[in-house]
Amino acid sequence: MPKDNNAAVRSHRLSDEEIARNFSDMHPPLPRSEALIEADRCYFCFDAPCTTACPTGIDIPGFIQKIRSDNIVGSAHTILRENIMGGMCARVCPTEVLCEEACVRNTHEDKPVNIGLLQRYATDPVFEDNVGLFERGTDSGKRVAVIGGGPAGLSCAHRLSMLGHSSVVFNRDEKLGGLNEYGIAAYKTVNDFAQREVEYILSIGGIEVRNKAVLGENFTLADLQDEYDAVFLGFGLGSVNDLDLANENISGVLNAVDYIAELRQADDKGDLPVGDHIVVIGGGMTAIDIAAQTKRLGAEHVDIVYRRGPDEMGASRYEQEFAQTSGVKIRHWAKPVKLLISDKVAGVEFERTTLDKDGKLTGTGEHYSLNADVVFKAIGQSLSEEALGSITGTLELQHGKIVTDDGRKTSLPGIWAGGDCVYGNDDLTVSAVQDGKIAAIAIDQYLREESNNG
C-alpha cells in the first residue's frame, strides 16, 4: 500500500522499535532463580485440583517437584507425555481459568502458583535442544489419515506414532500448526515457537505431511476411507460467522482471524495497514487478540463492542484487562444494527441491549454510533460448508459441530474427530490436544481389535 501519512488506514504508524517492544514476549520466561522460588510455592497437593482442572490432566505438582530438584528434562517429560503441545499451552492457555484458578494458594493468599510460566521453564529447553523424549512404537502396519494440521491433528498423529501407527496429515495451509501458527496473538508465541514445536512433534517419525491439501477441494473423505485404516477429523472451523447486516462485504469490514493470520505471517508487522478508528465486534479471544494487536500496531482508537456483560465474554477477565491496559476500550451491552458507509465502511450503529425479565437478550431501542475505518468481525466461526459438503454419509452434528462419543468417535464408522470442529469443545488449544490424544488412544484400540478379529 502506498505510504500516505494522512490516510486513515495506513501502515508503519509506529517506529520499528515501538512495534518490537509492543510485540515482545508477553510473559518472558522465568530465570532459574525465580523458577525455583515459584516451584517452592507449590504445596504438592493430594489429588491436585490444578491437575483436575487441566484439560490434558498434566501431573502439575509432579512436574513442579522435578523443577525443584533440577530435573528439568524429567519435568518436561511429565508435561509432554500428557500434552505434546505443553510448550504452546504454557504460553497460550488461559491458566487463570484453568489450573491456576484451581490452585489452593488462591484460598491461602489469593495468589496461585504461576503454573504457566513454570511449565514454560520446564519445556523450553526440550524444544531449544531438541531433546528426544518420545519414541515410535513398534510398527503396526496401520495407517491413519489425519485431516487438519492444527493442535488436534498433530496431537493425534504424535500419539498414533507412539502407539506404532503411521499417519498422513492433510493440512490446508502452507505450514503446520493451525491456529498455533495462524491464530493467537503474536506476543504470546514469539521467535517462531509454533514451528519449532511442530518440528519437535514430527521428529518422532511416522508422520507424513501433505500441506495445502484441502478437504472438498483436493480430496474427499471417501477417498481416505478407502485408503486408510482410520480417519481423524481435526480441521477446525473454516468459516467466519457473519454479522447479518447489509453491506457486510464492503471495503473495511474484515474477518479478525484473517488479519491475525496475516499479522502472524508478516515479516515486518509495521507493513500491516492499521486504521484510526477500529471497531471490533465480539467478546471472545479473537476479539481481544485483534483489538490488542491493532492497538499495539498503532491504531488511535480501538473499541470492542460486545452484546452482553464482562462475565459473559468468552475471553477471561485477565484477557479483558490485558486489552484494556493495551489501550482498548471495551463496551458492553450493545449489538450492531447497521453499518454506516460512504465509499467504504465509515462506522457502526449499535443498539443498546439488556436482559428482559425472562433473562433473554433484547434491544432497548436506544442507539449510538461509532466511527470506524475498519470493522473486525469476531463473533465466532463455524464448520466450513466445503468440508462438510464433501462428507458422504450421516455425520451427526449439533449446533453445527460434529458430535463424538467419549473416545471422540463420530457417528461415521472408522472416523474420529477432535478440536474446534467438535461439539462441546471449548476452542482451547489444550482441549484440542486432549481430543487428539484421546482419539489416538481410541483409534489404537480399534485397530488392535480389528487385527485380532481379522
Binding site: 525455583l36 493430594f46 489452593v104
Partner: protein, 433 residues
Amino acid sequence: MADLKSEFLGIESPNPFWLASAPPTDKAYNVNRAFEAGWGGAVWKTLGEDPPIVNVNGPRYSALHSNERRVIGFNNIELITDRPLSANLDEIRQIKRDWPDRAVVASVMLPMEEKVWAKYVPMIEDTGADGFELNFGCPHGMSERGMGAAVGQVPEYIQMATEWCKKHASVPVIVKLTPNVTNILPPATAARDGGADGVSLINTINSIMRVDYDTLTMYPTTDGMGSHGGYCGQAVKPIALHMVAEISRNKNTADIPISGIGGIHDWRDAVDFFALGASNVQVCTAAMVYGFKIIDDLTDGLSKFLDEKGMSSVNDLVGKAVPSVTEWQYLNLNYVEKAVIDQDLCIKCGRCHIVCEDTSHQAITSIVNGERRFEVIDEECIGCNLCVSVCPVDSCITMHQVSDGIDARTGKPINTEFLDWTAHPNNPMRKQS
C-alpha cells in the same frame, strides 16, 4: 520493659546475646562493629600457641539451602585463629578498654601440657578479658592434633585441662562442649569436676554437606579433596536443645550454669534455650548469614516476649520448661489427643490426607458426601501430630485432648488416671504397687 541486662558467672553484659567464638569475632574490626550494632558480648575467636595455625586458601564454608536459598544448615572447616597471639591480645585489650560494659571472653585451645596453660593463661587474662572459654569442641583439624573435640570426647582430658586453666586463671572459666558424643552428661560432669564455672554448648557437629553431582567428589573441596567440617545453623538447634535440657534436668549437672549455642536465628530460638536452662546464649551462624543487625530482632523480640509473660528479666525465664522434660517411660499413656481440622482455614491441599493415608493411620478423609473435604476420622486418629506437622496453614489443624467419654478409636472409656509405662500392664518389668 523487661530488663535484658545479663550476668553469667558474674560476667555482666547489657543483654544475654553474645557472639560465639567463630569468624565474626576474629579481630577487633568485627567485634567493634558487633558492639556498635548492640551485641552484649563476644567470645573471641579461639586463641592458640604461636606460631598460628594455617587455614586452607579455598572454601571454608558451605551451606544447606532451601529452594529459596535460605541457609538452613552451615558447615565450616575453618580452624582457630590464624593470627599471631600478640595481635589478638593487643586487640582484646583495646576492645575491652573501648567497651567496658560488654562481655569479652577469650576462647582458648592449648595442647595437653600443664606448662603451656601455665604460660598462656595469665598472659591472656592480662588483657582484661572477662573470662575463658575452653574450646574442647572444634571437630576438624585441631582434633587431629589432639586438641578440640579430641579433648572434649574424653571426660578425663576435659577435667585435666579445666583444672590447669582454673589453677592459673582468676576469671571465670567456661568449658565449651562438643556434641560429637553419645551422651553429653559425662563431659559436662567432667567440666564441673575440673572446676569449670559453667559450660557452653553445642559446638559444631561432624558433617559432610554433599557431593558435587558433576565430578562425584565431595563438596566443597580443596584441590579435589575434602574433609569433614562442623555443622551448625538452624538445622542443629533441636540437637543443641536436647543436650542443654539433659544437663539442666539431670540432678548431678543441674547446677552448672549454661551458655546455650546452636542455631539461634531469632528471639524465639533464644527463648527455647533459656526455657530449657541456658542463662545466656551465643550466636554465630545467623550473624554470618545476615550480618550483625539481627541483634535488633533478638533483643527487641525477647524484651517484648518477657513483657508479655510478665517477666522482669531473662532470669525469670531460665529453666521454666525444664520440669516438662522427662523420659518416655514417664509419659501418661492414658492421655488422648485427636487432630481437629478447622474447615474455615483449610485450603484443601490434601497434604494431611495423603501423609496419613500413605504413612500413618488412614485417619483423614479426602471426600465427604462427594465433595473434596478433609476431616479427621476419630475412630482411626491416634493423635500422632503428623497432619499438624505437614499442614501449610498455621493453626489450621490443632490437637485437642479427649478428656472424657469414649475414645472413638479404642471404643473404651477415657481413663483419667495417670498411667505410664513403668506401671503399664504390658510392661513385663512394671513396678507392682
